[in-house]
Symmetry: C2
Subunit: 158 residues, 2 copies
DNA sequence: GCGGATTGTTTGGGGAGCAAACAAATTCGC
DNA sequence: GCGAATTTGTTTGCTCCCCAAACAATCCGC
């Protein structure tokens, strides 16, 4: 009874109930996808996070946006947005212009080089998306996004 | 041409290509699910992150585990694990015992109160999972987890 | 035009993650 | 068997994300 505790270097661990948990799969997949995103950009000599990409798209498609509106769209606090915008502005991709109609707010916009960069980034994102979806059919990809949206709707705060 | 810029407080933003991106859906859903997890625990007067829960389950099911093995199973660096274990140990849930067979490693284990806490936590996690899956049928939930696993397999590092 | 709300910023706090360096202990090479 | 290489846990330093509270400037209601 009791063979000596297995010292083989690659023993698979017992994960208990974890594999049956949606939240667990979500977290692990998200982390792997994030790594793939970063690697895709690094290999192209670019640096961008998924969050920054989302921000750039939102600013591109909604020029003149205020920081509050952007923060709400991103689901983050307005104070969290400040250093992110600082960084993007320091890279010359985004500008904070004074709003002509409201002295409290900034009218956010992409710079010319921000537009050009976003076009490059979008190509990389498409390549990244293609790779992470490579194990799925087109309809499976659609299904996955739909199911994720349903889950998101049910997870609403409280 | 150009009615005055719509100042209505809840104008839906143009999200461009974002809604078609799996990575985007993944990130937003993960964030909502995380918030639901935190809210579930807060309402029960407990405090735990999804990562901590995964760690507790792994230690429970694989008593005597080393920190390296645990870090590998969690997909994080061994130096990242240290403060997390410190915190859990300070809460009296986990112990680092000297390994009888290898003086370099610690044999991790749950304390008695760690076991009891994990039982409480598992109940909360099940309630949380039930809620976030409330918009999905059982087979849809299964499908979602399977698709997530497929994506994770395709996203492998590089 | 005055008081209350909104906006952007700053400060303070916490957690997650990596890389590099280090001491202690083990294992490998021979 | 014994020195060298490797492994493990830790510390330090860095970056990033996130929130809450406070504050000044500005706007809006009345």
């Amino acid at each position: 009874m009791g063979r000596p505790p297995d010292k083989s270097p690659l023993k698979a661990l017992d994960r208990g109930l974890l594999p049956s948990l949606m939240g667990y799969a979500l977290r692990r997949t998200q982390s792997a996808v994030f790594a793939d995103f970063a690697a895709t950009f690094a290999k192209a000599g670019e640096a961008l996070t998924p969050g920054e990409f989302g921000l750039l798209v939102l600013v591109d498609r909604n020029a003149g946006l205020s920081q509050m509106a952007l923060a709400r769209a991103l689901g983050i606090d307005r104070s969290t947005l400040v250093p992110i915008l600082d960084r993007l502005q320091a890279r010359g991709l985004v500008v904070r212009r004074p709003s002509p109609t409201d002295g409290r707010t900034h009218a956010l916009a992409l710079t010319a080089s921000g537009e050009k960069a976003l076009a490059r980034f979008a190509r990389l994102v498409r390549a990244h998306e293609k790779r992470i979806a490579s194990g799925l059919s087109a309809s499976e990809t659609r299904t996955l996004i739909d199911l994720l949206e349903k889950v998101r709707a049910s997870a609403r705060s409280l």
